[in-house]
Subunit: 397 residues, 2 copies
């Protein structure tokens, strides 16, 4: 069960040093071992920078305040480091003291070669293969993962193609699975021109599901139409709300997945759903004050806008706004169904679930203030890929 | 199946006349008949003025603008009327044109004597009895209701005692039922010094359920403590948030029923639940950004504050804010269980579910501008009861 790896390991770490300071470092960290029977150790090749990774890295810090802070002795309380950047957190009203000083590894997925494996046959079968994996701390030279969270990439799939084979594709698949399990028949999606949004549109077309896409820029309308999208609405259009009611009435969609989070959008979607239901003849059995009995649900799965959600409730009582996250959902549906979805994600990684990247950057560049600012914009079409193959230079004092 | 009633019928009606005008009238309306086998016709005696009735009557109008508007001919497009009051709606951005001109009957419960009944034995058995009932338009001399929505009051219960035997008591019972069905073990309640809040506290004491009461005035703390409440927090206290976390940690309550609706309170409750869970040692299996996996739920069942709900999401992803209404809940649990709850409500109407009233007013006075302003304050301890026995004077032109 021990690994044969002799190289040194480096990882990207984020630490809230105080209420107002976040520290990003690349440090030498311990080499992982396949301690459990179902563990594998993966020599990482590449990993995508997803919005959730940016959120975890920044932890409410303002990327415009990022400054390189490499010191001469190149050491901090947690060991030697290769590179260091500090950021300021502008307002931090309720920092849990227990969260201060906790070193967090970054990266939730990626692709790499399995270099060690536990005793389980499932783990052993992966030895030497290039896999796509989900885990914690994939922005590293080596990581440990569970065999069940890894799927081998086929011969014809590159590590770059397979780097983001799980989080976004599984999220799209889990959205459709949630829709079916909860008895809905069509979907609404916001920030819909994202990598994930494009996947969801391709998936919905393949499955014959009506999808109402809401985008934030008019040029994204054509982008999504080029994938075959039928309903694409620009939230900045003066006719947006009327168009939304029309699309909701046409599709019967009363379930939305919202990546924006902050502001009035989630509430506006619920209001449009209610008005579409009333136009479609839904009754008000308990009077107009209590609205229709048509269930209307918005799941907030992202936080592109971190400001508070504002819900102006004029859509009756049959509604819900709730957080939604793919990982607990996979636990809920059980390992068999989760494995089925993971395999489908990898099987269709160059078609339904293909990702595009604006740039590939070597691991140390993620601490570059200019790069931090660029990835923090989280703009559609500007997704970055990390190249994890080059060991960061390490100089001791 | 015909009734033996020869008297004339009068009812309180509310109509949105235009985007900016609401009209309240007392009109002569048709005498109801027991058309269906399970119908009963009830000669009304008394009915409570609940916040939901005030909301339906006012329909966003400002009670300070109420003006008597009885005209000489005492007639409008919908027939002769006895009394008329008009109110102004200050801001009405999205009025559904279909809602204009719709005449709505007011009142969702009350007590009265059954004077006619359909063929069903259940309906026939009620003939001549004084019942507590749920229905639409109980602010009238006569109403039709379903036998299953009526429960006979015992010999020792007056109509005034039984007037509010269903909506509030059933709501309290349904809250506890919801808690158990969804796997929660303790409750949070806001505007907790209300009639309903007092009932819920008595019910929770009887059932051994921990209840965290949140009130809006310091004098309400003693009021609830006099019922035996253990946890009563004043939202205006500077230490409110810390006290809330402590109470949530002590009780393990992660389900709240909120009558306020608008503003930041629902989100603050979710944040306090998450912080209580973390103090109690709950893990963050997907990193701090995604919070604990402890399910946290706030049901909004009222709208004492009609302003938008503001949710500052810093409590992970395992949360939900949703509308909640007792009527669909009773449908969901089925008629057998619903009947069980209704009978329990009436059985305990002078103990667990006793209501108190500041005043009893005759039906026509509900159109009095001073009365409208008084009931619109919806202040705890200022609930009114309607006396429906006196036929309004009716003068024809």
């Amino acid at each position: 069960m021990s690994t044969s790896v002799t190289d040194r390991n480096f990882a990207v770490l984020s630490t809230r040093r105080s209420a107002n300071e976040v520290e990003l470092t690349i440090c030498e960290v311990e080499m992982p071992h396949a301690d459990n029977q179902d563990d594998i150790v993966v020599e990482m090749l590449t990993a995508p920078i997803n919005p959730s990774d940016i959120g975890t890295m920044l932890d409410q810090a303002d990327p415009d305040t990022a400054q390189r802070a490499d010191s001469d002795d190149r050491a901090d309380a947690h060991g030697r480091y290769v590179a260091r950047t500090v950021l300021h957190v502008p307002a931090a009203p309720d920092v849990d003291p227990a969260a201060l000083g906790v070193v967090r590894r970054i990266g939730l997925e990626g692709a790499g070669r399995v270099v060690a494996a536990g005793r389980d046959s499932e783990a052993q079968a992966l030895l030497g293969q290039v896999v796509s994996l989900m885990g914690t701390g994939t922005y590293a030279r080596y990581v440990k993962a569970r065999a069940q969270d890894s799927v081998p990439l086929g011969e014809e799939t590159t590590a770059a193609q397979g780097a983001a084979a799980l989080i976004n594709p599984l999220t799209a698949l889990a959205m459709v699975e949630t829709m079916r399990r909860e008895g809905f028949t069509a979907l609404v999606h916001t920030a819909a021109a994202s990598n994930l949004g494009q996947m969801l549109q391709r998936l919905c077309l393949a499955e014959g599901i009506s999808l109402v896409n809401i985008v934030r820029r008019s040029e994204h309308i054509e982008l999504l139409r080029s994938f075959g999208a039928k309903y694409v609405l620009d939230v900045t259009s003066p006719d947006f709300f009327e168009e939304l009611i029309d699309a909701l009435q046409a599709t019967g969609a009363t379930l939305a997945f919202d990546a924006i989070g902050g502001g009035p959008l989630a509430g506006r979607i619920l209001l449009a759903m209610e008005q579409a239901a009333m136009r479609g003849g839904a009754l008000l059995p308990h009077g107009p004050r209590y609205g229709t009995t048509v269930p209307k649900n918005v799941y907030l799965y992202g936080g592109l806008d971190p400001s508070p959600v504002e819900v102006d409730r004029r859509f009756g009582m049959a509604w819900s706004i709730a957080g939604w996250l793919v990982f607990p959902f996979l636990e809920e549906i059980g390992p068999e169904r989760a494995t089925h979805l993971k395999r489908r994600a990898v099987d269709e990684i160059t078609t339904t679930f293909a990702s595009g990247y604006a740039r590939t950057i070597p691991m140390p560049d993620i601490l570059d203030p200019d790069i931090l600012r660029a990835i923090s914009r989280r703009a559609t079409g500007e997704k970055y890929l990390l190249d994890l193959t080059a060991s960061p230079e390490y100089t001791t004092t």
